[in-house]
C-alpha cells in the first residue's frame, strides 16, 4: 500500500513527483468524490422511497427514468426552480450560512473516508478523531438554521436537534474509543489492517464488548443524523418541519443532501470500524495487486466497502419505516441513562479483555483451546 493517493497514481502512470501534480490529483479526486457522494445522497432518497413503498405494499416512484431511478434528478431540478423565500424577521446572514455549515462539515469528512486502500483521499493518522470532530459542524448548522428562521417551530426544532446531536455524540465516541483500543491507533488504515476479510476476523465479532459497542454506535449514529426513530427535530407531525420549516429551494436541498450524505458517512465509518472496511475475503485484493492491473484490487476493495456500507444504509432505512418516533424525554434518557453507561462499560470491558486475553478474538481463543486440547498440533 503506497503512502497516499497521488503517489499511487504517479506510480501507476509512471510520472515524476511534483507539487503541481499532487494538487491536481487531489483536486480531481475530491471533485469526483463530491459528485459521487451527492449522487449517493440523491439515490438514497430514491432508495428510501422505493424501500418504504415496498414495505407498505406500494410501488413508489417509477415514472422518471427506468424504474424511477432518475427521480432524484427531477427533485433536484424542481428545488432549483423554487422561489427563495426568506421570512421577514429572519436573520439574513445566519439564514444563508446555516446550510453551508452543514454542507462543509459533511464534505470535510469525505476526505478521510476509507473507501479503498489507495484511493482514499487523505490517510490521516488522526482519522477517526478527525471525523468525530468535524461532524459537529452539522449540529451547529442545524441550530443556526433553526434560530435564524425566527419561527417558534424552527427554534424549538433547532434547539432539540442540537442538544440531541451533542448528547448522542458521547456514546458514539466512546464506542469508537473501544475500537481504537483494540486496533492501537486512530488511523483508518491501522483499523482496517487489523481486521480481515472474513466475518470472524471483523472487530464486531472480536469480543462481546465490541459487539455491544457496534449496537450502541449504530443507535447513536441514527440519532446523530436525525433519522427516525430519533427525527424529532424534523418531525413532520409535530413541528411542521422543525429547523428547516422556513427554508425553500436550494438551501433546503442542501440541508436534505447534507443529512443523507451524513448517514452515508456514518454507515461508512461503522462499516470500517466494525465490519472490516474495505477488506476483501480470501485475500483477493493482495492477489490482484500483484497482477499487471493493480487498479482491479482497488475496484474489489471499493466493492467490499460499498457493499457493507449500503447494507447498513438499508438497515437504517428499514428502521425508519418500522419504529415509531421517540419522545424528547425518552430520547434524552436513552442517551444519558442507557447508552452512555453501556458504552463506558464496553470501553472498560474491552480494555480488560485485551489485557487478560492478549488481544485475541473469541475465534482465536477457541481455536487455540481446540488445538491445545488436541495435543498442541
Amino acid at each position: 500500500m503506497t503512502d497516499n493517493m497521488p503517489q499511487f497514481f504517479q506510480e501507476l502512470f509512471h510520472l515524476e513527483t511534483s507539487d503541481c501534480l499532487t494538487f491536481l490529483f487531489y483536486f480531481i479526486g475530491a471533485f469526483i468524490l463530491v459528485n459521487i457522494a451527492s449522487v449517493i445522497g440523491g439515490l438514497a432518497t430514491y432508495a428510501e422511497r422505493k424501500i418504504s413503498a415496498d414495505m407498505q405494499l406500494r410501488i413508489g416512484p417509477n415514472r422518471v427514468g427506468p424504474y424511477g431511478l432518475l427521480q432524484f434528478l427531477a427533485d433536484g431540478a424542481k428545488m432549483l426552480m423554487k422561489e427563495n423565500i426568506m421570512p421577514l424577521m429572519a436573520d439574513r446572514f445566519l439564514f444563508n450560512i446555516a446550510p453551508m455549515l452543514c454542507l462543509v462539515g459533511i464534505f470535510a469528512t469525505l476526505a478521510v473516508l476509507p473507501i479503498s486502500g489507495n484511493l482514499t483521499l487523505a490517510h490521516l493518522d488522526v482519522g477517526v478523531f478527525y471525523v468525530v470532530a468535524i461532524s459537529s459542524l452539522v449540529g451547529l448548522g442545524i441550530f443556526l438554521g433553526g434560530y435564524a428562521s425566527n419561527s417558534k417551530w424552527s427554534l424549538l426544532g433547532g434547539m432539540r436537534g442540537a442538544s440531541q446531536i451533542i448528547s448522542y455524540e458521547i456514546p458514539v465516541v466512546i464506542s469508537i474509543l473501544s475500537i481504537v483500543l483494540l486496533s492501537g491507533g486512530t488511523s483508518f488504515k491501522t483499523i482496517v489492517h487489523h481486521q480481515g476479510g472474513l466475518p470472524h476476523e471483523w472487530f464486531v465479532l472480536h469480543n462481546p464488548f465490541t459487539f455491544i459497542a457496534f449496537i450502541v454506535y449504530f443507535i447513536g449514529s441514527l440519532a446523530e443524523a436525525n433519522r427516525a426513530p430519533f427525527d424529532l427535530p424534523e418531525a413532520e407531525s409535530e413541528l411542521v418541519s422543525g429547523y428547516h420549516t422556513e427554508y425553500t429551494g436550494m438551501k433546503f436541498a442542501f440541508f436534505a443532501l447534507a443529512e443523507y450524505v451524513e448517514v452515508f458517512v456514518l454507515c461508512g465509518v461503522g462499516a470500517t470500524l466494525f465490519l472490516g472496511g474495505f477488506n476483501v475475503p480470501f485475500g483477493l485484493d493482495t492477489f490482484l495487486s500483484k497482477t499487471p492491473f493493480p487498479l482491479l484490487a482497488e475496484v474489489v476493495q471499493l466493492g467490499a466497502f460499498f457493499t457493507k456500507t449500503f447494507a447498513l444504509y438499508y438497515l437504517v432505512i428499514v428502521i425508519r419505516w418500522t419504529l415509531p418516533r421517540l419522545r424528547v424525554d425518552q430520547l434524552m434518557s436513552l442517551c444519558w441513562k442507557y447508552l452512555t453507561p453501556i458504552a463506558l462499560f464496553n470501553l472498560i470491558g474491552t480494555a480488560i479483555w485485551m489485557v487478560y486475553f492478549h488481544d485475541q478474538s473469541i475465534v482465536e481463543i477457541i481455536k487455540a483451546a481446540g488445538s491445545h486440547a488436541g495435543g498442541g498440533h
Binding site: Y26, S163, S167, I348
Partner: protein, 143 residues
C-alpha cells in the same frame, strides 16, 4: 543586510491535509454556485404573506422564544465535560495496544479505569440528583 536563508519546504508530509482544505473550499463554492444559479432561474415575487413565519395557517403570535428551558443548557454542560474527557482519551487509547504488548497492559488499564471511574462518579451524581431528567417529575417534589 544579507538575504535571510530561504525556508525549505517543510510540508512534505503536511500535504496529506490538502484534500480536506480542497473539500471545504469545494463545499463553499458549490453552495454559493448553486444558490447563484438558482437565483437566475427561479421566480422572485416576495409578498407580505409569504414572508411571515408558518404556524399551521394561523397568524404568528408573539416573539419566537419566550420560555426559559434550562435543561438544554444542562445537557450542553454535561456534554462538554464528556467531550473533553473523550478528547483526552483518544491519545491514551491509541497507545494502549502498544503498552499492552510490552507488558504494561495492567498499569495502562488501571490508569484508564481511574480516569473513567472518576467521571462515572460524576454522571452518577448528576443522575441521582435528577439533572439528567428532561422533565422534572412532579411526584418527586411531593415526596
Amino acid at each position: 543586510m544579507e538575504n535571510p536563508q530561504v525556508l525549505a519546504d517543510s510540508s512534505q508530509g503536511l500535504s496529506v491535509f490538502m484534500p480536506i482544505l480542497i473539500l471545504m473550499v469545494l463545499g463553499v463554492v458549490i453552495f454559493w454556485g448553486a444558490v447563484l444559479v438558482a437565483g437566475l432561474i427561479r421566480p422572485s415575487k416576495p409578498s407580505k404573506l409569504k414572508q411571515t413565519a408558518y404556524e399551521c395557517g394561523e397568524l404568528p403570535v408573539g416573539q419566537a422564544w419566550s420560555h426559559f428551558n434550562i435543561r438544554f443548557y444542562v445537557t450542553g454542560l454535561i456534554f462538554i465535560i464528556f467531550d473533553v474527557e473523550s478528547a483526552l482519551m483518544f491519545p491514551a487509547a491509541s497507545v494502549f495496544k502498544k503498552l499492552n504488548s510490552i507488558g504494561l497492559g495492567g498499569l495502562a488499564l488501571i490508569e484508564i479505569l481511574l480516569f473513567v471511574m472518576i467521571l462515572v462518579a460524576g454522571i452518577a451524581y448528576c443522575w441521582s440528583k435528577g439533572d439528567l431528567d428532561w422533565v422534572k417529575s412532579l411526584s418527586s417534589k411531593e415526596k
